[in-house]
């Protein structure tokens, strides 16, 4: 069977195309089901708050550190690049706009994809493998409402907050490097940043972050719920959750940037 497939590239191509389309269809159904359950009771506020803690609060250190180093590196790069056409003074402005519009939300999304999508997929996958999902159903509790909705809502709300914190820390990182290593004036640095940034820059970044949060939790839950049997199945679900949410974040980032381009 395998040999035949190798010899017949067209069949292989067809099979993988059909597989991809089927996967897109399944994710679309899962998405529609999630959205329909968000609005209908019963609601589980206790689960939601617990997830807000796990996804939001506990991601602060990793998001903060990533943003700090990225802001610093960005300041150095822009200084070096800007020096080639005597534009060293644009460091504060470019760091601010780069962090707020692009790097803040994207890096937050990717770090949370690594930290949260994996843990959601592993947790729900293990629950599936050990029949805990079946047990939920027999206890008259809908797993979509009890597991998926709280996680998706919590991530969609937590990510913009995380991204905002990341933005601020990233700009601070750029500022630190700017005044200590590049001899930029501290007051001028802050004034340039504040004068240059517009509300639309910040809002567009936060909207992106919300979308990324939604993607991360949705992919974690989807792959967990569809996990295969045994440790290998859970492992694969975890990998798929991280990879698919990272790729979708990058794709969505381009589309959203295009959408916000004029503003």
């Amino acid at each position: 069977m395998k040999g035949a497939r190798l010899l017949d590239p067209l069949a292989g191509l067809g099979a993988s195309t059909l597989g991809l389309l089927a996967a897109i269809g399944r994710v679309a159904f899962y998405l529609a089901s999630t959205l329909s359950h968000v609005l209908r009771p019963p609601f589980y506020p206790r689960e939601f708050l617990a997830q807000l803690m796990v996804i939001g609060y506990f991601s602060l250190p990793v998001v903060g550190l990533t943003a700090l180093f990225t802001g610093g590196a960005l300041a150095l790069q822009i200084y070096v690049g800007g020096a080639r056409f005597n534009a060293e003074s644009v460091v504060p402005q470019i760091v601010a706009i780069g962090m707020v519009r692009e790097l803040g939300p994207v890096l937050t999304g990717l770090m949370v994809a690594g930290r949260v999508a994996s843990s959601i997929a592993a947790e729900i996958g293990t629950m599936k493998v050990t029949e805990q999902i079946d047990a939920l159903v027999t206890l008259s509790t809908n797993p979509m409402k009890y597991l998926t909705v709280p996680r998706v809502l919590a991530a969609t709300i937590a990510l913009p907050v995380l991204a905002a914190v990341g933005d601020a820390i990233g700009i601070f990182g750029g500022y630190l490097v700017g005044i200590t290593r590049l001899d930029l004036n501290a007051a001028t640095y802050l004034k340039n940043t504040a004068d240059f940034l517009e509300t639309a820059d910040v809002i567009s970044g936060l909207v992106k972050a919300a979308v990324f949060g939604f993607i991360v939790a949705l992919m974690g839950c989807y792959h967990g719920m569809n996990s295969g049997r045994g440790a290998q199945g859970v492992g694969r679900a975890t990998t798929n959750a991280v990879v698919s949410s990272s790729v979708l974040i990058m794709g969505a980032n381009y589309l959203l940037t295009q959408l916000f381009f004029a503003t």
Binding site: E123, E131, Q132, L136, V137, T138, L139, S140
Partner: protein, 249 residues
């Protein structure tokens, strides 16, 4: 009364249930025996709606169980002990036991739910000190007991036990068997147990059904188990290699 009429279920090319017919009377303890992988668990999951059969009818007191009009009310009549316990490891023991009492239609105040949980834990032989532990801190036998306490917490009319003694030593298995029998009699509940542990069958069953090759091969009272005259049951009960059931599966 639970009634299964010509129930079929396949997974891919594998035809697991090939027309199961079975009647479980109200208040009786039915034990379904059969080799590993013969679809015993699938059968229970079909009744609960966790798995949807392709063909056939399942009736609960004459009402359609495959598409019940009120699924929550339907499920509230059941309790189930899962094979591995299936305890929620993010919740402490008492919240596992009182899960149904903490949310949904049967919701009670937290203190009352906790008190009921501790009562049920006592019924299965666990002290109040286990209430605040997490499932991962319990031994296999204790997890089974907690699972049992959760299955009976909301006083269901019908209780399913999926391989209740698998993985337990013979002494502990005996304890669990006696607990199940005692609880079922005390509550007047209808019980359906899946097992391939013959000691368990003799301790729990009023009637026994043998599932093999996707159909019920034999149903009869537990007293006739040893002289059923059915070659499948004979081979299974005596654990013989020769007979109609292929030993190599």
């Amino acid at each position: 009364m639970i009634e299964l009429i010509d129930v079929h279920k396949s997974f891919g090319k594998k035809h697991v249930l090939k027309g199961v017919n079975l009647r479980v009377e109200k208040g009786e303890s039915m034990v379904i025996i059969g080799g590993s992988g013969t679809g015993k668990s699938v059968l229970l999951k079909c009744i609960l709606g966790l798995v949807r059969p392709e063909k056939g009818r399942i009736l609960l007191d004459g009402q359609d169980a495959i598409r019940p009009s009120d699924r929550d009310a339907f499920l509230a009549r059941f309790g189930m002990l899962f094979q591995g316990g299936a305890l929620f490891d993010s919740l402490p023991v008492w919240q596992n036991v009182a899960f149904r009492l903490l949310r949904g239609a049967l919701k009670r105040p937290r203190e009352e739910a906790r008190r009921i949980a501790i009562d049920k834990l006592a019924r299965v032989g666990l002290g109040a000190d286990t209430a605040d532990l997490y499932p991962a801190e319990l031994s296999g036998g204790m997890q089974k007991r907690v699972g049992l306490a959760r299955a009976i917490a909301a006083e269901p009319e019908i209780i399913f036990f999926d391989e209740p003694t698998t993985g337990l030593d013979p002494i502990l298995a005996g304890v669990i068997n006696r607990l199940i029998r005692g609880i079922v009699e005390e509550m007047g509940a209808t019980a359906v147990t899946i097992t391939h542990d013959m000691t368990s069958v003799r301790a729990i069953a009023d009637r026994v059904a043998m599932l093999h090759d996707g159909v019920i091969q034999w149903v009869g009272p537990v007293s006739q188990l040893d002289n059923s005259g059915n070659p499948y049951v004979d081979q299974f009960v005596h654990g013989r290699e020769e007979g109609p059931i292929e030993a190599l599966r």
